[in-house]
């Protein structure tokens, strides 16, 4: 994936529009789901995804490959969300609660029975009630599958900070949810 991404980036810098389209196909669904989980609203997630890629195209020349391309994109998406969040503080929480409910009800997924789905739903809602630092660590590491190091790069903190935040997350979740 990384070699393919590198070659596509090289072609984009030569203004190859097809290469940019290919790169988009690889990453857009991941970025959309990241933003969608965070903001809980489909139209807002679409707008934020659009903003993320617009920023990516205009900053691509500055991407030096010091991190994976997907990490760099997540960082742009994260910053785009933070900007948006500052302007929409009141509407976010209620939206995400509703979204998790709809999503776990519909999703067959690996959560086999009703009890497990209900537990998962409570868990996801509890994650969204965490403070922002901890919530973002969970979204990036668990929901998006980024490594601890990649998560730290996106959040611009040390890897030890991410590990500490995740440890704290489990302490909080255990007090809120009994299995």
């Amino acid at each position: 994936m990384d070699n393919q991404t590198k070659s596509l980036r090289r072609r984009i810098k030569k203004a190859d529009k097809n290469a940019a389209s290919e790169l988009l196909k690889i990453y857009y669904a991941d970025i959309y789901s990241y933003l969608s989980r965070l903001c809980g609203s489909r139209p807002d997630a679409e707008d934020l995804t659009q903003q993320t890629f617009l920023k990516a195209w205009s900053s691509l020349d500055g991407f030096k490959g010091r991190s994976k391309f997907s990490t760099w994109l997540h960082r742009i998406a994260h910053n785009t969300y933070i900007d948006w969040q500052r302007r929409n503080t009141n509407s976010i929480q209620s939206n995400t609660d509703q979204w998790w409910q709809e999503c776990t009800d519909k999703s067959p997924g690996p959560l086999a029975n009703v009890a497990e789905r209900q537990l998962a739903q409570r868990l996801y809602q509890a994650v969204d009630q965490l403070d922002d630092d901890k919530k973002h660590a969970v979204h990036l590491h668990y929901y998006q599958g980024l490594s601890i190091r990649e998560t730290a790069k996106v959040l611009d903190v040390a890897t030890s900070t991410v590990k500490y935040r995740l440890r704290e997350v489990f302490k909080i979740l255990k007090t809120k949810i009994s299995v």
Binding site: R66, G109, L123
Partner: protein, 234 residues
């Protein structure tokens, strides 16, 4: 399975919202590698306005336009396809080693509307200043003021007071500020905040972009876009 493992398993299996139909097409319409090239050209023009080789001393000045162009993207949700520079000024300080340090200030107002005119840009600026004076602009991050105008466009600036001044008054005020900033720069008295997403390369030389934050004697904080050559990559 212990509780933590179970929670981890659930978190890793969190539902993935499917991207809606049509989103990929819309994103593909925005694909604009040409924009990337245009931006580099804009930066190059600020580095070396008369053409020819790029003086490293101009680096400090160059980033101002990049900030001005990027701000509407950060705060307005739209691709800027047209913008006008409504004010610019340059302040140059000769250095002991024969070089010069330069600071360039530009106010650019952009829009995603292809019919956007310079008159619209100036009207937006005026309306924003009126809203700011009436206390209707919001400081959405420290030092950055934002308001939504009556035409629906968003307008943001770090220097709302500057909008109420004439060009001559602006230059006089800026000269005083940059005299002080230059003293603080030489004394190393500023905070450096790296913005890796804006790093760039010109003529094979890679530059790391950062914001230098200076606290002036009257307590105001001024941010100057700057950059330094990258010595070795991580």
């Amino acid at each position: 399975m212990n509780t933590e493992k179970k929670f981890e398993q659930f978190l890793r299996a969190a539902p993935k919202p499917a991207a809606p139909d049509g989103l990929l097409n819309r994103l593909q319409e925005d694909v604009a590698p040409v924009e990337i090239k245009r931006r580099v050209t804009v930066i190059r023009r600020w580095f070396a306005p008369a053409g020819g080789s790029i003086s490293p001393w101009r680096v400090a000045a160059a980033a101002a336009i990049a900030i001005a162009v990027l701000l509407p993207l950060s705060y307005g949700a739209a691709k800027v396809i047209k913008y006008f520079t409504v004010f610019e000024a340059e302040f140059v300080y000769p250095q002991d080693d024969g070089g010069v340090a330069g600071y360039k200030v530009g106010a650019a107002i952009g829009s995603n509307n292809p019919d956007f005119t310079e008159e619209d840009a100036r009207k937006d600026q005026q309306e924003f200043y009126e809203l700011y004076k009436q206390g209707k602009a919001e400081e959405i991050e420290p030092g950055f003021w934002f308001a939504t105008l009556s035409n629906g466009r968003g307008f943001g600036t770090r220097d709302p007071e500057m909008l109420g001044l004439s060009d001559a008054e602006r230059i006089e005020l800026l000269k005083k500020q940059f005299d002080e900033i230059e003293e603080l720069r030489k004394a190393g008295k500023f905070e450096k905040i790296y913005k890796p997403e804006h790093d760039f390369e010109i003529d094979g030389v890679k530059y790391r972009y950062y914001e230098a934050r200076y606290t002036l004697s009257d307590g105001t904080v001024k941010t100057v876009g700057s950059s330094e050559p990258v010595k070795d990559e991580d």
